[in-house]
Symmetry: C2
């Protein structure tokens, strides 16, 4: 029993060390020697716990995926706009911390195409989708709502990836923009579909006048005439 | 000289046959035997022209990428909203024709992670990005414009992928929605940034009152009070 705990502890330590190295440099550039050295053990001992770099990479990815999914959890209290802003902030914090590893993973890292990796990425997307639907209080989403939520999750991923390439926009601005993007995509859908308009109306009815959603609508309304008139 | 033409013609025929098979079923499920049979030649002869399925897949993908990039080309005439709507229509037409192959490729097909495949996908994204900037008449895009354009391209990809899974929304509606999404993402950026507001103002100044951009702004303005007031 005692020895088993030791094995598991060592595995967890190696996963932590590997995750930190994979987060700060492209996983392709991280060697098993480096991981062994950072963990203070020998290279053969690393192989004792993990048969190869891919299995250690997948274990590190699993821990990162669990950590990210935990950040999606938000109490069902208060206005939805503020909730989404907090979760989006934690998501971008995660991306910021794991930048190079996140980029490598999403752009085609060492284990891309492996079914384990793809399943992990999909499970994180699904966790985000499930959380958003739960906050919206919707159990059987119409096709247009599913499209808005899933495509926004994909937009959040790609926005984060584009941002990581140079970080030319302040992170706080990006967080607010993503929340606004969600409102904008929902509004586009609602502008042409009554079911979505009803849903959006219900969400906005509970939004405070100084929340991120109301603020955007005010600014867009102000923008429209200014922009259309030369 | 004559024989060389024959070789190239045969290669092109095989690429066409393979592209059609890869478009209608997941490439993983298409065998070299099937390709040979559809082309009316023997299996060893296929291998004479392409060393393996991966090289034939990559050649088919190259042709599809070229075809898609051609569909992005649009005359620089008339309102921008109508131009974007035409190009988006051709893009979704392409996705519709090559559905299973497009899904497999973007979700992790047989050659995902291969540098050739990733470079091809990136080159198509870059072609779309270059075209949009050219139509906007912008050569040195500010960071926020680059983010809007690149993230919209990614949104168009993911929207198409989500749509392919069941096709529960009419294609024509999706085309218009994507054009509106572009306007909405640009408007969100413009609502908080003067440079983007100036750019958007310039675009909207030339839009006709019955174009897709003006129509959306009118509907959003109508939606705002309806939605905010319970």
């Amino acid at each position: 029993m005692r020895r088993r705990m030791g094995v598991e502890e060592r595995r967890q330590q190696l996963i932590g060390v590997a995750l930190e190295l994979f987060s700060n440099r492209s996983p392709d550039d991280v060697s098993i020697d480096e991981i062994a050295s950072a963990a203070g053990i020998s290279r053969p001992l690393v192989y004792h716990y993990f048969p190869g770099k891919l299995s250690l990479y997948e274990a590190a990815l699993k821990r990162a995926a669990d950590e990210l999914a935990e950040r999606f959890v938000e109490p069902h209290e208060g206005p939805l706009g503020a909730r989404l802003l907090r979760v989006t902030g934690r998501f971008l914090g995660f991306v910021d911390e794991h930048g190079p590893g996140f980029s490598a993973l999403m752009r085609g890292g060492p284990a891309v195409g492996s079914s384990t990796t793809n399943a992990l990425i999909d499970s994180v997307r699904q966790a985000a989708y499930d959380q958003i639907l739960a906050h919206l209080g919707v159990t059987a989403p119409p096709a247009r709502l599913e499209l808005v939520v899933r495509s926004w999750i994909s937009l959040a991923e790609s926005t984060a990836l584009i941002w990581l390439d140079g970080r030319r926009i302040p992170r706080a601005e990006l967080e607010l923009q993503l929340v606004h993007d969600f409102a904008a995509l929902a509004a586009v859908s609602a502008a042409y579909d009554d079911e979505m308009a009803l849903l959006l109306g219900g969400i906005l009815a509970d939004e405070p006048a100084d929340g991120p959603f109301a603020d955007l609508l005010g600014r867009l309304a102000a923008l429209a005439p200014r922009a259309v008139l030369p």
